[in-house]
């Protein structure tokens, strides 16, 4: 293994949480998340040589990860719609231990009904990014990011209400 590969894998391990969360947002089964995770790492590795240290590795990672996830989701149409909350609930429980956090669990289930861009918006919001940062990452205007994010939040609330969950 050459030094740049070692360095790259170290950075991936340091920021693995981001990739895990992106994978959870976009894929609702472990196999799908594994595939997406690997796809993102490959895409990062592919463009790692051109990555300039002007921005933080994690900032660059957000962009590549979300772009990869969005393209992959659109292309493969792996997004599956589950009719009942029961099925979704089982899926989420299998994914990771969320006994302590039902709210997050239900959120993950609801988020699977969003489209690729809505997922990216809500993901960046939850990661604590400002409207400006979200706009920069997704290549849209700040106003557009704000409007779209508000709509996405409303949509999530509607989906959760549909399942008769309240927080």
């Amino acid at each position: 293994m050459n030094p740049s590969e070692i360095e790259f894998l170290r950075l991936i391990d340091e920021n693995k949480g981001i990739l895990v969360k992106v994978s959870r947002m976009y894929m609702d089964d472990h196999e799908g998340r594994q595939d997406l995770y690997q796809e993102i790492v490959y895409q990062l590795w592919k463009s790692y040589a051109t990555f300039k240290q002007q921005s933080k590795f994690s900032t660059w990672m957000y962009r590549v990860a979300l772009n990869t996830a969005m393209v992959l989701l659109k292309k493969e149409k792996k997004h599956q719609i589950y009719d009942t909350l029961e099925e979704r609930h089982d899926f989420a429980e299998e994914a990771y231990d969320t006994d302590k956090d039902e709210q997050l669990n239900v959120f993950y289930q609801a988020v699977q009904e969003l489209n690729a861009i809505e997922k990216a918006l809500i993901f960046l919001f939850l990661e604590g990014q400002s409207h400006r940062e979200i706009a920069e990452n997704l290549g849209i205007s700040e106003v557009n990011a704000r409007v779209k994010l508000n709509r996405t939040k409303e949509r999530i609330q509607q989906i959760i209400k549909k399942y008769k969950y309240e927080f």
Binding site: E5, F8, L9, I12, D13, K16, G17, L19, V20, K21, S23, R24, H30, R33, Q34, D35, Y37, Q38, E39, V41, Y42, Q43, W45, K46, T68, V71, L72, K75, E76, A95, Y96, D97, T98, D101, Q103, L104, F107, F125, L126, E127, G128, K153, I156, Q157, I160, F167
Partner: protein
């Protein structure tokens, strides 16, 4: 729903899910294989285009003297062969295009898709080549007969009489046909082996290695 609370839960969620890093060496290796494969497909396509160009010009060349009905039949077969060839080049074009896209190389699933796409393209190539053998034989006949094509066809049409009067002609025709079939089949298999088979094997090896890990 309180999004601030959700944000807090989101940031505190455990992220220790068992997601394996991919083996980056496969990326390089499969990338190299696909690069060579794309180059071979292009090279093979250029050779085909040059061959078709030459075949198209054959009746015009004074050495061949193909005229009249023979020229009409000749061009008919050329068009037929070109169209059949486009059938497999369409598969190869799809393959080249898909290997440039994002899903290339990443997961075993995608590599498996690539493997079967390539196998499918090669099988289409083989089938199209075999199906074109009769047309190729006619073309060959027209080319070597030169201005005697219609006479030769007439002699073949009256097979019984010709066999009685000039058995050597029939024997020579049959032997030529057999030799041509062997040549076309041999050439097709050689082209497949030289241009594509090795890469199918290499991709299969990578898949097996991924499976074993």
């Amino acid at each position: 729903m309180n999004f601030d609370e959700l944000k807090k839960s989101w940031q505190q969620q455990p992220t220790d899910e068992d997601l394996q890093n991919p083996n980056l060496k496969y990326y390089k290796e499969v990338g190299n294989i696909m690069g060579k494969l794309r180059k071979n497909i292009k090279r093979e396509f250029i050779s085909w285009a040059v061959c078709m160009g030459f075949l198209f010009l054959v009746p015009i060349l004074p050495i061949y003297k193909i005229e009249g009905y023979a020229a009409f039949a000749y061009y008919f077969f050329i068009v037929q062969i070109s169209l059949s060839s486009l059938l497999y080049y369409r598969r190869f074009f799809y393959l080249v295009k898909s290997t440039k896209k994002i899903e290339l190389l990443a997961s075993k699933e995608h590599l498996l898709k690539l493997y079967y796409d390539l196998k499918y393209a090669v099988e289409t190539y083989r089938i199209a080549a075999y199906v074109m053998i009769p047309q190729a034989l006619f073309l060959y006949l027209i080319m070597i007969a030169q201005n005697r094509t219609t006479v030769w066809f007439d002699r073949l049409y009256h097979f019984k009489e010709t066999f009685q009067q000039d058995p050597n002609f029939i024997v020579w025709m049959i032997l030529s046909a057999i030799a041509s079939i062997i040549l076309v089949v041999g050439l097709t298999e050689f082209m497949i082996r030289a241009y594509y088979s090795n890469y199918i094997t290499q991709i299969k090896e990578k898949l097996d290695q991924m499976e074993a890990e």
